[in-house]
Symmetry: C2
Subunit: 412 residues, 2 copies
Amino acid sequence: MIALRAGRPVEITGVCARDRSRDRGLDLAAVRWFDDPVDLAQSPDIDVFVELMGGEGGAAEASVRAALNAGKPVVTANKALLARHGVDLAEIAEDKGVALAFEAAVAGGIPVIKTMRESFAGNRISRVYGILNGTCNYILTRMERENLAFETCLAEAQRLGYAEADPTFDVDGFDTAHKLSILTALAFGTKLDADRVYVEGIREITIADIEAADELGYRIKLLGVARRTETGIEQRVHPAMVPKSSAVARTDGVLNAVAIDGSLVGEVVLVGPGAGGNATASSVAADIIDIARGLHLPTFGVPAAGLEPYVQSEMHAHEGGYYVRLTVVDRPGAFAAIAARMAEKGISLESIVQRRRKPRAEPPASAVPDDPQPVILITYATTEDQIRSALAAIETDGHIAAPPRLIRIEEL
Amino acid sequence: MIALRAGRPVEITGVCARDRSRDRGLDLAAVRWFDDPVDLAQSPDIDVFVELMGGEGGAAEASVRAALNAGKPVVTANKALLARHGVDLAEIAEDKGVALAFEAAVAGGIPVIKTMRESFAGNRISRVYGILNGTCNYILTRMERENLAFETCLAEAQRLGYAEADPTFDVDGFDTAHKLSILTALAFGTKLDADRVYVEGIREITIADIEAADELGYRIKLLGVARRTETGIEQRVHPAMVPKSSAVARTDGVLNAVAIDGSLVGEVVLVGPGAGGNATASSVAADIIDIARGLHLPTFGVPAAGLEPYVQSEMHAHEGGYYVRLTVVDRPGAFAAIAARMAEKGISLESIVQRRRKPRAEPPASAVPDDPQPVILITYATTEDQIRSALAAIETDGHIAAPPRLIRIEEL
C-alpha cells in the first residue's frame, strides 16, 4: 500500500537504538544495526534519516546535522530540537536541497504542519491556537469530570503513562511552548524563539476555578496561542477560559485541537490524537511518503533566509478579558474598595459572582462574621498591565485573604 | 507573500467568463480575455488552467480535457465533473505528467483532499464521513434552534443565498453524494461511482424527529458516509442521528466537518467553512501554490490505473441502530402487535418513548380515545433488511395511522 502511494518501495535499512533486544513488533534481523546514530545518518545505505530520539541537543542534534550535511532528507518528531535549532537546521536542509520534515513534532497525528504550510499558503494567518499537550488536557478533563484535585489527576496520569515521573515539562507548559514556537514560525514567517514564549502551567488551577468557569459558560484549557498584534507577535501558553460552545472547549482527554485563522478561509479546526506511538507513526509515515513522492518545500514554508526576525508583542500589553477569583475578607466596605480599585484602572466588570453560602439560619461551623468569601469577577477587555496593577492595589489594601487568581479569557 | 511561498510569482494571464463587465474586485484590464474556455485552456500563454465554472459536462469538461491534453496542470472546484469523469481525467493527467488538483471540490476551505491523500498515506482508512453540504446543515440547524418547519428554513436559506432557487441538488443529497464519491476514491483507492451512492435527503425531517432526537441524546445531521464492510464499500448519504457529544453533532450552520478514521492515527476531524467564495479561493490558491512548488501526485493518491473497481456493499445489508417514529392508533393490543413484529425479525429495542400527552383530566380537544399517538423506538444494531420488513409488516397490520419514519443512527 505504501509503495503504491509513495510511487516506490520504502524499506528500513538501518537502525540505531539503545536497546537492541527489545521486541518492537517487527523483525529487524536483516537490518543493519548502528551503535552511533551519526554513523547511521551518514551511511551510504540510507536515503532518508528518521530521528525519533528526542532532546534538543546531544545525539539527536548531532545525527540530524550529520544527515542533512550528508545531503539526506530528515524526518523528525523532535519539537525541542526544532524549537532550539530549527532555523539553523532549515538553512542546512535548504542549502543541501533536501527536506526537513516534522509533522509528528506538533499535535501528534493531526496534520497541522502540512495544513499551515500548504493548505493555508494563500492566506495571511492572524492567529493559531490550540490544545497541544495531551497530558495537561487529560488532567484538566479529569479534574472537571470527577471533581478531583490537580495532584490526584497528575498521579493518575503518571500511573497511566500519560505523564513523566518529572512532569514539569508537560504541566508547566514548556512542551506546549516548544510546539507553539514552531507553529508561530509557520504562521507568520518569523524565526523561532521559544525562549520568548510567555509560559504559565496548570498547577495552580483548582476545582473552585473549574466550577466557576462552568457556571459562567466556560471551560479551562491549557492553550498555546500565537497572534499577530499591532506591536508584533504574541506567543503565550497559559490556562484559558474558553466558551463551552467552542471546538477547543469540547476537546477532551488526551486529544489535541488546533485552530488556524486565515484571511481567506476563516477558521479551520483540526482535532485528533496528539500523542502516542501510533499517532506519531502516522505523521512520520506521511513525511517519509512525501519525501518518497518528491515533495520538497522550505522547512517553514518560506526559505529560511527569508524568515523575519521575531518581534515580540509584550505580555504586559496583552489585551483581553480576565477571570479573577478573590478570597475577600467579609467585612463592610471590602467589596466597594475592590470595585473602586478596578474602576481606578479603567477596568469594567462584565459579571460578579459571589458564590452562594449556606443560609444564615444554618451557618456552617466556619462561618464566623469575617470568614473570607470567594468572589469571582469577569472583566471586559483590558490589558495585562491594568489588571495586574489593580490586583496589586487590592492586595495591598488588605481586603483579600489570599493571592488573587487570574485566568485569561480567550475570545474564540 | 504568495511568490515567497510558491517560490515564484503567480499571475493571472488569461480569463474567460460569461460577463466581462462585472466588478470582480480586481483590475483585469491587462489580462487577455477569451470567449471560449477551450481556447484559454490551450493558450500557450498559460502554465496552469483553473476551472471554476461548474457542471459535470459542457464547457467545464471540454476545457479541462483540453488543458490536460495540452499538458497543462488543472485546478478545479468542480465536484460534479470529478464525480462523473474523475478517473478518466486522472488518467489523462497522469499520462501527460501534470497535476489535476481539486481541494475546493469537497468541503470548501477544509483541506480534506490533502489530508486524505498525503497526511493519511501511512494509514488504511476504514471510514470517512461528514457534513459536506452547508445548505442542508444550515436548514437543520435553524429547524432545531428555532423550531421551524423544513419549508420555512429552506425559504430562508434561499433568501440568504445559501440555497438555489431549485434546491433539489442540495436538499435531496446529490451534492453530498458527488463529494462523497470523491472521498471514497481517496479513502479506498477505488474508482468513483457516484451513481451507486445510496441517497436520501432532508425534506422528510420534521420538528417531531428533531425533538425526539434531542430527548434521546442525538442530533440529526445529513451525513455522507463511506465505510469498508466485509462485502465491499458502503457509500451512503442520509439524515443520521449522531450523539450530541460528537464533533459532527456540534458542527452548526454552514460549517462542514469531515472525520477520517485511520488504522494508525485513529480519528481526525476537520471543521471549517464548507462553501463561499473566500473558502473556495483559499483551497484553489493552495492548489495553485502546490503546483508552483512542483508538487505532483497521482490525482486520487495512487495511479489512476491502480484504482480498483468499486465493489458496492448493498444498502439492504447495512447494519446499525435505527430510530423509528410510529404514529400508533391508540387501541388495546396495538403496541403489543408492533413489539411482536420487531421480535419476529430479531430486532431488539434499546428504548421506547411514548411522547407525553396532556393528563387525562384535561384532554385536548383532539384526544378522542383512538387518537393516534407518536411512539419512538430505538433499536439495537440490526440490518436495513430486517427493519424494513418489520416496518412493512407493522404497516400491513393496520396499527399505524401514517407511514413509519426511519432515521439511521451513526456510531461515532
